[in-house]
């Protein structure tokens, strides 16, 4: 893996975005499960 995937632009900030997205997805699943 190289090119655009290297450097802080993707590697550093991308990790924060992915972590946030995963936690939000869990929250959405939890709410959906409890309303079902």
């Amino acid at each position: 893996m190289n090119g655009a995937l290297n450097g802080p632009g993707f590697m550093f900030w991308g990790l924060f975005v992915c972590c946030g997205a995963l936690l939000l997805a869990y929250l959405a699943w939890m709410i959906w499960t409890e309303r079902r």
Binding site: P8, L15, C19, L22, M30
Partner: protein, 480 residues
């Protein structure tokens, strides 16, 4: 009294006070091992997060990141993914019959005291190794704060830990864990802006860290196969380590577990991200250190003002203690409940059980420090020991536990071969296999293959053993 010493004395006093207060709430074995199974989402989530966050996070993650670069950080994603799996797939089935220990679950599902015995022995051995790694980190902190030799620091930490864990059991562990999580979050959150200010701000940090170490934001700085298998180790380890599974029994119901896991996984993710940014500042501020494990103690002592530095070191200690106390519960219960009371001396009276329980914790808590003082187990990077423990747990328990509640055809012979084969493969790979692949992958695959193939060629399990896990009417039993 100097500021750091005062911070630590205050911190230990609170921990002791919580420990002693818990004694009143510990009335029977269910209280002692799973806090009576009544925890709410906050206490349950806090103890899960505090147990997950170990010296491996505060010392080890920084150490590996300092040495290998930011690509290691992406392994973190496997943790929230794993907890999601636990909440959605494992917990609804695993908690239908509430047990006191993980080996007790193995006996119930796999209708065999032998399977329970094997599970208990694996838990005992792996836990001793893991506790050693944490105690080494604790000794380093004591050396920095109090100026005492590392070995005395290790002994002192063990004594403090045993004092409240033996007395108050799981109740003491849960409430001290909640307090220790607060210390960890405070230490990390307060340190971050100061460390960033030392390197002239966030944008400057990213620029300087690339200048100091050009490979830090390059994917090639760690082999891709190692990153993937480490991520797998974290994923499987977050699912199957007994100290986490037992917390599912300690929380009161499924909605509580779902919320507790959201709280825990958010706390763990945020703490890890902060610690990883601190690792970057360590690369800029201390470009040449003999070992990565020194990076965090250096940030705490040389970058932060004394009170905050002490707070950070207290956070590292809190991380270590909140993990080791949970492991003491798991290992102590494996020794006294699963091995002694179940296999060796089943007729032990109820009145004596609580004393046997406490003695179990005392024994398993003393062994690691005695081994360390004899020179066994020193010198490895903390995070690599954490990874070995995780690999051992993943290779022995993921398949029988997760598979056990998903496939009713799985048999006791299959479970026994999966555990023994998984552990053996993990050790052999660690000793002789290529270092570019974490031992968890071969261990897990061998375990999976043996569990599946041996189950198919052995007689199917009795209906009574599997029924509780394959009916959809919720919980069917209580602690045994």
């Amino acid at each position: 009294m100097s500021t750091p010493v005062a911070v630590f004395v205050g911190y230990f006093l609170v921990v002791f006070a919580i420990g002693w207060l818990s004694l009143r709430r510990t009335k029977d074995e269910s209280d002692y091992w799973i806090a009576g199974g009544k925890l709410g989402w906050f206490t349950g989530g806090a103890t899960l997060a505090a147990t997950h966050t170990s010296a491996g996070t505060f010392v080890g993650v920084i150490g590996v990141m300092y040495t290998a670069g930011w690509s290691f950080g992406w392994v973190l994603l496997s943790i929230p993914a794993a907890y999601w799996f636990v909440a959605a797939v494992l917990a609804p089935r695993f908690t239908r019959v509430r047990q006191l220990t993980l080996p007790a679950f193995m006996e119930a599902r796999y209708y065999s005291k032998g399977v329970r015995g094997i599970a208990a022995v694996i838990v005992l051995i792996a836990t001793v190794v893991y506790i050693q790694a944490q105690i080494v980190a604790g000794g380093l902190v004591a050396n920095i704060v109090f100026g005492i030799p590392t070995q005395w620091g290790m002994v002192a930490f063990t004594v403090i830990l045993l004092a409240y864990t033996v007395v108050g059991g799981m109740v003491a562990v849960v409430y001290t864990d909640a307090f220790q999580l607060v210390i960890m979050v405070l230490g990390a959150v307060l340190s971050l802006p100061l460390a960033i200010r030392q390197v002239d701000g966030f944008a400057s940090l990213l620029y300087l860290v690339e200048s100091a170490k050009p490979t830090v934001f390059q994917w090639g700085s760690m082999p891709g196969s190692l990153l993937f298998t480490m991520g797998l180790a974290f994923f499987l380890g977050s699912i199957s380590t007994p100290e986490k599974l037992i917390r599912l029994y300690a929380m009161k119901d499924l909605p509580t577990i779902r919320r507790g896991i959201l709280f825990a996984t958010t706390a763990v993710t945020v703490l890890n991200l902060i610690v990883m940014v601190l690792a970057l500042s360590a690369i800029v501020l201390f470009p040449v250190l003999p070992t990565g494990d020194l990076a965090m103690p250096m940030v705490a002592t040389a970058v932060l003002p004394p009170a905050l530095g002490a707070m950070m070191l207290a956070a590292i200690t809190a991380a270590m203690m909140s993990t080791v106390d949970s492991l003491l519960i798991v290992a102590g219960s494996a020794l006294s409940v699963d091995l002694y009371q179940n296999l060796i001396h089943p007729e032990v009276t109820l009145a004596r059980r609580m004393w046997v329980d406490r003695l179990g914790i005392l024994v398993v808590g003393s062994v690691p420090v005695v081994l360390l003082l004899s020179g066994v187990g020193q010198g490895e990077l903390v995070q690599f020991i954490v990874l070995l423990f995780t690999a051992l747990m993943a290779a022995s328990f993921v398949v029988p536990v997760v598979g056990g509640v998903l496939w009713r055809r799985a048999t006791r012979e299959g479970a026994a071969s999966a555990m023994v084969g998984g552990v053996t493969t993990t050790f052999l790979w660690k000793a002789f296999g290529p270092g570019s692949i974490d031992p968890v992958l071969p261990g897990f695959l061998v375990s999976l293959f043996l569990w599946w193939s041996v189950s198919l060629v052995t007689p199917p399990p009795p209906h009574d053993a599997v029924a509780p896990y394959f009916v959809r009417d919720g919980r069917t039993g209580e602690a045994t």
